[in-house]
């Protein structure tokens, strides 16, 4: 991401994006009180580019750029944040909602035909399933 300060515009589109994420996740994102419990306890936070609580904040403000963060792909849905959130919000579901929005664009990032017999033999099944799900349309 560009690291210079950009002014945030509040538009109908930002409201629509928030509504879309709330609908897919089923979570009331505006109820997040930004306490940071999710981020402080996240076992993978150091691999992320923005913290889980920042995801919540940016979605609330309708900033679609969250769809291009590493964070939502790093999230392993381990639910540490979910069981700790004092407002009982399910942050993992929000990350999943963001992934869904991207996945529904149905873009092929890899061509299955490019995988060699050797790749298929060596790779763990779960890695293949995950790759098909995340990287193919």
């Amino acid at each position: 991401m560009d690291d210079r300060i950009k002014k945030v515009k509040l538009t109908d589109r930002s409201v629509e994006f928030l509504r879309q994420v709330e609908e897919i996740s089923g979570e009331a994102i505006t109820a997040c009180e930004q306490c940071g419990t999710c981020s402080g306890g996240c076992p993978f936070v150091e691999e992320m580019d923005i913290t889980p609580s920042q995801i919540m904040r940016k979605v609330m403000l309708g900033q679609e750029e969250v769809l291009h963060t590493r964070t939502m792909w790093i999230c392993a849905s381990c639910f540490t944040c979910t069981v700790r959130c004092p407002r009982k919000l399910d942050v993992s579901k929000v990350a999943e909602a963001l992934r869904q929005i991207r996945l529904r664009e149905a873009l092929d990032h890899i061509d299955v035909n490019d995988l060699t017999e050797d790749d298929v033999d060596r790779l763990p099944t779960i890695a293949l399933v995950s790759a098909y799900r995340k990287l193919t349309g």
Partner: protein, 792 residues
């Protein structure tokens, strides 16, 4: 029997729509109808005079008035009856204006039919009216205050100073409560015990206060300015049990005692002996023996007894009991600090250097000593909202004092040890009280760092016992992972355990957060829905010391105002027992929600009038109809229902609506006032509560021609009688069974709640019932006759 019937034209409000001439003709010449008269304004002086004159001239013994809703002029007309020398309860009012002429303004014919039915119902009911007397009950000056914290102390002192006789019960061995545990108080930093001790001493010396420490409320019952409590004196093992007068506090015993344990008053920060004074400024200043560690019973140790100049110890003391009868009760049972073990991620109770706020109060209190019992190290963290604002532990509310108590403890620590590096981790910092914001700013200027973020978890270094805190600084969006010598959990306030039993005994309502509920959140903040029971302090919800003291004084003021009259009138519309019908079966003994039913020596039931609240819930439980309710007796309502349905013509349908006086009857009135149109095939009869409606009464309504019976009440939440819905639903199930047995659709009985302001719901419900009735088949006359409970 001589009945006078008065039809009010209400300056045309009634007579322009309802055909009063026709109704007058319908009534005149009826059984025992002595006079029927129309007046333009019955509520006026002239109108009332006409009634009063007639009562004398015709020797009337009961009066029926067709006018506006009884909520407007029932008192006026009862007054007129009184002035004429007639018992004021020999009156019934038919609601011609709100329920007929205004509601059905567009259909004068239907309005007249409905008015006729309602008048017939009132005449039917008045035939069974009996004179009732408002009994005057004497009030005394005795008040029980439960809880000897600052709230109870303030209340007790205000009451005692005004001349009331106060019994103050505290379950701990000293009064003072949680405030006595605090070091200094925010935001002024005056020492808690310095400002509290004089008040505690005043309590002990006050001639009007009977102080009972080590006391537990074993039982308490009552209602309406008359309560009886049984108080258990837990043994202190000092003679005599009630006031420990033998003990002179000389401390020789303490020096001799060979065993010690952590002082729980000091939150375990320092040690004490098995025989000890609970706190340096304890009131009463008397020793107590901790039997859990005392060696007397196990090893025959008598070290304390041997040195005691008074020989005050009684090692085999048993509990004693005191009974008190009082006119009012103030519940001031305070709070418990949140048990931080419910948040295992913070390691409280497991990690050596994680303490809670109360423990920190004691640690800070000793910090300026040469050798403090516990040091704090170099870097200290305070964690806010532990057990507050956390749905994971079921606590949604803010505890209101933690932001400021942490700020205070941090400030005191910083002043005593300027080199300490102090961090306060918060989510939202609440500094709303007088002087709080300034205090917060002062702490920031001192160098205390406020970090906006709630820690997720701690780790303890097994060797150094340092605590690592993991937290996001949500303002800089960085994850902080830092080691602290001491972590203080700003544990919140929770409803105190000891309150539960008292609330249960006194039938006090509890709010969603678990604290006791006030009668009204704005206008009656220290009253409860139980007359004569008041709340003071944190038992009602988290609050700081000034608010607690203010509420303590407010509760005292409410008690004084309540008792000032010296006597009070008991509404005569209470339950009573037809002694000849009672078979002593006992079916009613345990069902009364306020314990107003008791067995007489002959086994038959009797109603305690000081306890009964007149809800009528007991009527449905009596198989013999031996229990009855003044003002709404079985005979009154049977007669009213029968008369209300007598005018039903073949092909017509009728919904009988039993509407509670607070909500359902009032929303019908309000719909009339707003002249909202709704179906005219309903007849709304006022009852005190839905729980008054017996299965027999419902069956009777169907026997006499009802096609639908609607029972309406206020919503369960906020209902004048919180048990109303439970009873109503039970009785309705029984009524439905009666219909099922006769092969009648059970959806003819409807239970619904209304609020006096939700007019559309009432209108829609009446219209829906009308539509529904039109589709329902007629119930044949044989089946109807079989339903009549009075024919069995």
């Amino acid at each position: 029997m001589k009945i006078g019937v008065y039809l009010c034209q209400c300056g045309g409000n009634i007579s322009n729509t309802v055909d009063l001439e026709a109704i007058q003709k319908h009534i005149e010449g009826g059984d025992e109808i002595a006079v029927v008269r129309q007046e333009s304004h019955l509520c006026s002086g002239a109108g009332q005079k006409a009634i009063i004159d007639d009562i004398g001239a015709f020797d009337l013994d009961r009066v029926v008035i067709a006018s506006c809703s009884p909520q407007f002029h029932e008192k006026t007309f009862r007054g007129a009856l009184s002035r004429a020398g007639l018992n004021p309860y020999m009156l019934e009012i038919a609601n011609f204006r709100e329920h007929c002429s205004w509601a059905h303004k567009d259909n004068p014919e239907a309005a007249t039919v409905k008015a006729t039915d309602l008048l017939d119902a009132s005449i039917g009911k008045v035939r069974h009216n009996v004179p009732l007397e408002e009994k005057m009950m004497k009030m005394g000056d005795d008040v029980l205050v439960i809880g000897g914290g600052i709230a109870g102390i303030q209340t007790a002192l205000d009451l005692a100073d005004s001349g009331k006789n106060v019994t103050l019960v505290e379950r701990q061995p000293t009064i003072g409560g949680n405030m006595a545990l605090l070091t200094k108080t925010f935001p002024t930093e005056d020492c808690a015990s310095c400002i509290l001790s004089p008040k505690m001493a005043e309590v002990e010396g006050h001639p009007k206060i009977n102080l009972i420490v080590d006391g537990e409320i074993e039982s308490i019952k009552g209602h309406r300015l008359h309560f009886e409590a049984k108080i258990k004196h837990k043994p202190r093992y000092i003679s005599p049990e009630i006031n420990m007068d033998e003990c002179i506090g000389c401390a020789l015993c303490e020096e001799a005692c060979p065993v010690s344990a952590p002082n729980h008053w000091e939150q375990g920060v320092v040690q004490r002996k098995a025989i000890y004074i609970p706190a340096p400024h304890a009131i009463p200043y008397k020793y107590i023996i901790d039997k859990d560690i005392c060696l007397h019973d196990s090893e025959g140790c008598t070290a304390c007894f041997d040195v005691c100049p008074q020989k005050a110890m009684v090692f085999d003391q048993e509990p004693e009991y005191t009974n008190v009868a009082v006119d009012a009760v103030v519940v001031a049972t305070g709070y418990d600090i949140f048990d931080s073990r419910e948040k295992p991620v913070f390691g409280y109770g497991e990690f050596k250097n994680v303490v809670n706020g109360l423990e920190m109060e004691r640690i800070v209190d000793h910090i300026t000593e040469k050798n403090p019992p516990r040091d704090v190290g170099k870097r200290v963290a305070f964690i806010q909202c532990v057990g507050s604002r956390d749905e994971q532990v079921g606590r949604e509310y803010c505890s209101r004092v933690c932001c400021m108590y942490s700020t205070k403890l941090a400030s005191l620590l910083k002043q005593a040890r300027p080199e300490t590096d102090i961090y306060i981790f918060y989510t939202d910092l609440r500094a709303f009280g007088k002087g709080f914001e300034e205090y917060y700013k002062r702490a920031q200027k001192m160098g205390i760092k406020f970090i906006r973020g709630k820690p997720a978890e701690f780790k303890e270094d097994p060797k150094t016992k340092m605590v690592t805190v993991l937290v996001e600084d949500t303002l800089s969006r960085q994850i902080i992972e830092a080691e602290f010598d001491l972590v203080v959990l700003a544990a919140g306030l929770t409803p105190s355990k000891s309150t539960e039993k008292i609330a249960e005994h006194l039938k006090l309502a509890v709010s969603d957060d678990g604290f006791l509920k006030e009668a009204h959140p704005k206008y009656r903040p220290v009253d409860t829905l139980v007359e004569g029971v008041f709340l003071a302090g944190t038992v009602q919800g988290p609050k700081d010391i000034p608010d607690t003291v203010a509420q303590g004084s407010a509760a005292a003021g409410r008690v004084i105002a309540t008792l000032a009259k010296g006597e009070f009138a008991v509404d005569p519309m209470l339950a009573f027992v037809h002694d000849d019908k009672c078979t002593a079966c006992g079916a009613c003994f345990d069902i009364c929600p306020v314990n107003a039913i008791a067995a007489k020596p002959d086994g038959k039931a009797e109603i305690k009038e000081t306890l009964c609240v007149g809800c009528g819930a007991c009527l449905g439980a009596c198989p013999e109809e031996a229990i009855d309710l003044n003002g709404f007796t079985n005979m009154q309502l049977y007669s009213a229902v029968e008369a209300a349905l007598a005018g039903k013509k073949p092909g017509e349908k009728r919904a009988v609506v039993f509407g509670d006086s607070n909500c359902t009857y009032r929303v019908a009135d309000a719909a009339g006032v707003r002249k909202m149109k709704y179906a005219n095939d309903n007849r709304v009869l006022m009852v005190p509560s839905s729980c008054r409606i017996t299965p027999n009464l419902v069956a009777f309504a169907f026997a006499k021609g009802a096609d639908i019976v609607l029972i309406g009440d206020c919503p369960e939440k906020g209902n004048k009688f919180e048990w109303a819905h439970d009873f109503a639903k039970k009785y309705i199930e029984q009524a439905k069974q009666i219909l099922t047995d006769k092969g009648i659709e059970t959806d003819r009985i409807v239970f619904d709640d209304f609020t006096a302001s939700n007019l559309p719901k009432f209108v829609e419900t009446m219209n829906a019932l009308s539509e529904k009735m039109k589709k329902l088949p007629d119930i044949d006359s044989k089946t109807r006759a079989d339903l009549n409970p009075l024919e069995k």
